[in-house]
């Protein structure tokens, strides 16, 4: 019998646990010509803000050892354009669409949630709390457990769609923050967003990125992501969507074993657009080899009491 790889995030049913990581797949359109988008369990869209944003200037992507730094700066056309021009395309796909939202103030998030709430094409909201928060002095919302609670609770009042809080790894104790998200009514947490990093051009004696600092992603960060997921799995009951440096089937399985119920592929899409197909095949094969009949049996298995 074919192993069951369906997964569930709150009330959202996924045909398989593979999601696109926000900001790394556009809204699917670019890849739609030569990959069947239905290989994905769901599409997570590029970070959306109220107003359009033109993003950062200068170099935006720099390659680092087994990773990349990006400082795109949330370039996006704003919610109005998104609703008018992107949603109709997404609607036709008939794949769960998770819209990633970002703001500078809590009321930006509220407004975004309110405007997206009526659209049934929007299957869930992923709330990116890693943007710098002006009111609190520049540190990301996501580093402050109280603020994460507040944003989550307010959005919970606005929408009944599954609420996924996307946490930043740039904290001492990500569990503490995940707990607040859970308490405030989140349906799931996503982790990890990018690690803050930078690169310097030694000949020009200047930071490489136009924005000086950027977000590190790709295989380099995988051990950090896996550790955070493993840790948070013991602290909350709501599902975890795991991501950070997944490039192959073994990685995907490792994330599930650590406790992720779904996983997102980001940077790997830039390198190998066929990754979701390869990973899905590996996963099915792995489950057959190890006699797992459903994903459920695998999630968190690395936490078992260790016999040896």
């Amino acid at each position: 019998m074919e192993p069951k790889i369906q997964s569930r995030i709150g009330s959202l049913e996924l045909n398989n646990p593979l999601l696109t990581a926000s900001g790394t797949y556009g809204n699917g359109r670019e890849y739609s010509n030569y990959i069947d988008l239905h290989c994905w369990g769901g599409l997570v869209t590029k970070g959306l803000t109220l107003e359009s944003r033109s993003g950062n200037s200068g170099i935006r992507i720099v390659e680092t050892a087994a990773g990349i730094l990006n400082s795109i700066g949330l370039q996006n056309p704003g919610i109005e354009y998104f609703i008018k021009e992107e949603l109709p395309f997404l609607e036709k796909l008939k794949i769960p669409v998770i819209v990633n939202i970002a703001g500078r103030r809590i009321r930006d998030y509220e407004e975004l949630a309110r405007r997206l709430d009526p659209f049934s094409t929007v299957s869930a909201l992923e709330v990116n709390v890693s943007c710098p928060n002006v009111r609190e002095g520049g540190l990301a919302f996501g580093t402050n457990p109280g603020l994460v609670y507040e944003i989550t609770a307010r959005l919970r009042e606005i929408t009944t769609k599954p609420l996924i809080i996307k946490l930043t790894p740039n904290v001492a104790d990500v569990g503490e923050i995940a707990i607040q998200a859970e308490k405030a009514g989140a349906d799931a947490v996503s982790l990890i967003n990018t690690l803050m990093g930078m690169e310097i051009d030694v000949e020009r004696q200047k930071p490489m990125l136009g924005n000086i600092v950027g977000g590190l992603s790709g295989p380099a960060v995988k051990p950090v992501a896996l550790r955070m997921i493993y840790q948070v799995y013991r602290q909350i009951k709501i599902p975890i969507i795991g991501m950070g440096g997944i490039t192959k089937g073994e990685d995907a399985v490792a994330f599930l074993l650590a406790g992720a119920r779904a996983i997102a592929l980001g940077t790997v899409n830039f390198v190998n657009p066929k990754a979701p197909l390869e990973i899905k095949n590996y996963l099915l094969d792995y489950m057959r080899r190890h006699n797992f009949s459903s994903l459920e049996e695998m999630v968190g298995l690395a936490h078992r009491e260790r016999e040896d």
Binding site: G23, G26, Y34, Q75, F270, P273
Partner: protein, 262 residues
């Protein structure tokens, strides 16, 4: 656009630090156009991670070639590709040059960046048109580019270490050719400073059309990462907008990217 495992036919050093790579894939070769590029997976799994973008030098029948210069880790790894190996290639990507209906076509390239113009030279109309190729070189080794050109294209070159009086920059070659009444199209590949100088020389011939290929670091190459942002102003829109070098480019009209109007 395709993602395919393609066979390497050749990977030869044709001048110090310059390699000619030829791959076989009929559909990719068929979709190739001058100015488009391919995105090459180095096959290194984790590091270097990203693909390397390379302009198409030529495409014929089932094969497609690029010319690359060894500048860093990735291109150094490419030199180890061997005939018979398979590599993972994405492409052709980007928009490519628009071939215009002109009396004259000037192809102006700086260094190895001139590769897409070689391809373009082969696709230009041949009858009743003057096609001229201007190549600026830092290394004389680049002269071999001439061998890749069709015969009917006139070839001019400048060299940085030329003796006094001779053309040092590719822009030194242009002025005599610009005094023309013919409708002229310029297709340029090189650093942005070169484009600015060319545009300056063309100042009083405002009906010249200038297409330029814009170089940006690429993540995905297909339009999703937004890493390759280019600011353009396309009339009638007043506001500049951000587009992607890998999809809306790499070829742009010079007036559109030269927002400050210098």
């Amino acid at each position: 656009m395709l993602q395919e495992s393609v066979l390497i036919e050749k990977n030869e050093e044709i001048a110090p630090g310059l390699y000619f790579l030829k791959i076989r894939n009929e559909q990719m070769a068929g979709e190739a156009q001058p100015g488009k590029f391919i995105h090459i997976n180095l096959g290194t799994i984790y590091d270097p991670l990203l693909r390397r973008p390379m302009s198409i030098l030529n495409a014929q029948g089932e094969t497609l070639s690029v010319l690359y210069q060894v500048v860093g880790r990735g291109t150094r790894i490419m030199t180890r590709f061997r005939p018979g190996d398979e590599i993972d290639v994405l492409g052709p990507l980007g928009n490519g040059f628009e071939i215009e209906d002109s009396g004259q076509n000037f192809l102006i390239g700086g260094g190895v960046g001139a590769a897409p113009l070689v391809f373009l030279a082969h696709r230009l109309p041949k009858k009743g048109v003057d096609n001229k190729f201007f190549l600026g070189m830092r290394e004389r080794e680049l002269l071999f580019i001439k061998d890749f050109l069709p015969e009917e294209v006139e070839f001019f070159s400048s060299h940085e270490n030329s003796p006094r009086g001779e053309a040092k920059q590719v822009t030194d070659l242009l002025p005599p050719h610009l005094k023309t009444k013919k409708k002229t199209s310029l297709y340029c590949c090189g650093p942005e400073g070169m484009y600015r100088e060319i545009a300056g020389l063309c100042n009083d011939c405002s009906d010249f059309s200038i297409q330029v290929s814009i170089d940006r670091r690429m993540g995905c190459g297909v339009g999703t990462c937004l890493g390759c942002a280019v600011k353009v102003k396309k009339p009638p829109r007043e506001e500049p907008q951000i587009v992607r070098a890998c999809v809306e480019g790499p070829v742009f009209r010079w007036q559109e990217v030269n927002i400050d109007g210098t």
